[in-house]
């Protein structure tokens, strides 16, 4: 069944042409914010949760979605570990397509929907229950539940929030709301961090080099842009996806003999 990869470009990747130069979007304004910010030395508990100006908001988002933010993102591969060990992705182009489909027709789009609903103030507990129920495998449930719990621990401690443990996209939406961070920027950074984590996992599990990994990540920026434009007003009834093989990969990862990742 794991036949050769189709070589034609499809609707998702087709948008890549002409996308060059958009991936550095967040860097400019964030830099400006750094210059205009002030160091107050305020004790943690006295830090105001809101509101933040645009520049400060971008810095907060850059911090939340940095690989150094302690959610353990590096230990999860979303089933990619199994796909690669099964020899199904043999080129940078194949890795890029796999990630693009997981973003557009898998967890990427669904997470944005949950994030947006939480940001708008819908009951986080109900969203959390639905998101957990939609996990297609034990490892995918672990991935979203543990990253969410770690994220909540960090934002509660540093930004003085009072969130209960929630799956990752619901936690991010609820935290962004509490900190008055803008929805669209939060969603873009969230999806970019997801794409970056998958790319990083692929680079570690294949002979792909760091530069090829960065090229893959840069290539997803058009898709991330489109998904953020199209998805943030989507009702929960339109949740859904079609990455059946990626779901199966995460199931089979449970019994993989030699595992580089927890999922």
């Amino acid at each position: 069944m794991a036949g050769p990869m189709a070589t034609n470009t499809d609707h998702i990747i087709a948008a890549r042409a002409g996308a060059e130069g958009t991936s550095a979007r967040a860097a400019g304004p964030a830099g400006k914010g750094l210059a205009s910010g002030t160091v107050t030395g305020m004790p943690r508990s006295a830090m105001p949760p809101a509101p933040l100006g645009t520049d400060a908001a971008l810095l907060t988002l850059a911090q939340w979605f940095s690989p150094a933010f302690p959610i353990g993102a590096f230990s999860f591969s979303h089933g990619l570990d199994w796909v690669i060990s099964a020899g199904q992705l043999r080129s940078a182009a194949a890795v890029e397509r796999w990630i693009a489909h997981v973003l557009a027709q898998g967890s990427g789009r669904n997470d944005l929907i949950f994030l947006a609903h939480a940001w708008r103030g819908e009951d986080p507990a109900g969203l959390d229950t639905l998101a957990r129920a939609l996990a297609p495998s034990a490892e995918r449930l672990t991935e979203t539940a543990e990253q969410g719990a770690s994220f909540v621990r960090a934002v509660n401690a540093v930004w003085s929030l009072d969130l209960p443990p929630l799956v990752y996209p619901v936690a991010v939406g609820a935290a962004a709301r509490a900190c008055s961070l803008p929805l669209e920027a939060t969603a873009r950074m969230y999806l970019h961090a997801f794409a970056a984590a998958l790319t990083s996992a692929a680079v570690r599990a294949t002979p792909l080099g760091q530069t090829e990994g960065q090229a893959i990540l840069a290539a997803t920026s058009t898709l991330i842009d489109r998904l953020c434009k199209d998805t943030l007003d989507t009702p929960l009834d339109d949740l859904g996806g079609a990455v059946f093989a990626a779901d199966i990969a995460s199931m089979n990862h449970e019994t993989q003999y030699s595992r580089m990742f927890r999922t």
Partner: protein, 260 residues
Amino acid sequence: MGRSRVAARLRDGRSVLSDLYQQGASKVLVPRTAGTALTAVTLNTAGGMTGGDSFTVEGQAEAGAHLVMTTQAAERVYRAQPGEVATLTCKLEVGEGARLDWLPQETILYDACALSRRLTADLAPGARFLMVEPLIFGRAAMGERLRSGLFRERIEVRRDGALVFADATRLGGDIDAQLDETAIGGGARAMASLLFVCDTAEAQLGALRALLPATGGASLIRPGVLFARVLARDGYTLRQSLLPAIERLSGAPLPRTWML
């Protein structure tokens, strides 16, 4: 258009019919079978579904009863007129200590079909629910390819009122091309979802895994909730993997309609 409802209750150690309703193109047959379960076979006398059709199927296994629901034949989802979508709503209820096996035969999606379906199952404590939903993308034997179409599915299973499993599928556009993608179908033209919810589902994980092909996977998502997906080249190959897996989880041979 059609609507049907069937309910089973326990009487003297056997499951018997307690309610039966059929309207429109939906018919329900209750064949005499060996064993103590009640088997209900639904039949779409319209021969298939097309855009704008609306079908509702309700099934209930009352406390302690065992209801097996299946279909007389594969369900064909024909080409729809632009903007028209067929809907299928399935509402299942499984009482305390009851069993319901939802074992429809394949749904075959024709080119340019449009189907949105929803299945909800409400399980009481100690209930046991087995569900299989086999799906075939295009009539491969006729060389048909799903160059366009729409398929949406939402499944929600509640145990004692709490949502314990959901699945949401959303396919549209050139489905055939998408199925060739590594993350989506890896070249498959048939797919099945298999769900087993019961207090002792854990015990079946190893056996189920051993029965699945390399293109399938199974996971105990949470205690009592065992889920599997299987991809296959075509409907025939899918059946070969599904039959032993379903028989293993149901502990009984498949309904006779599957064998015809």
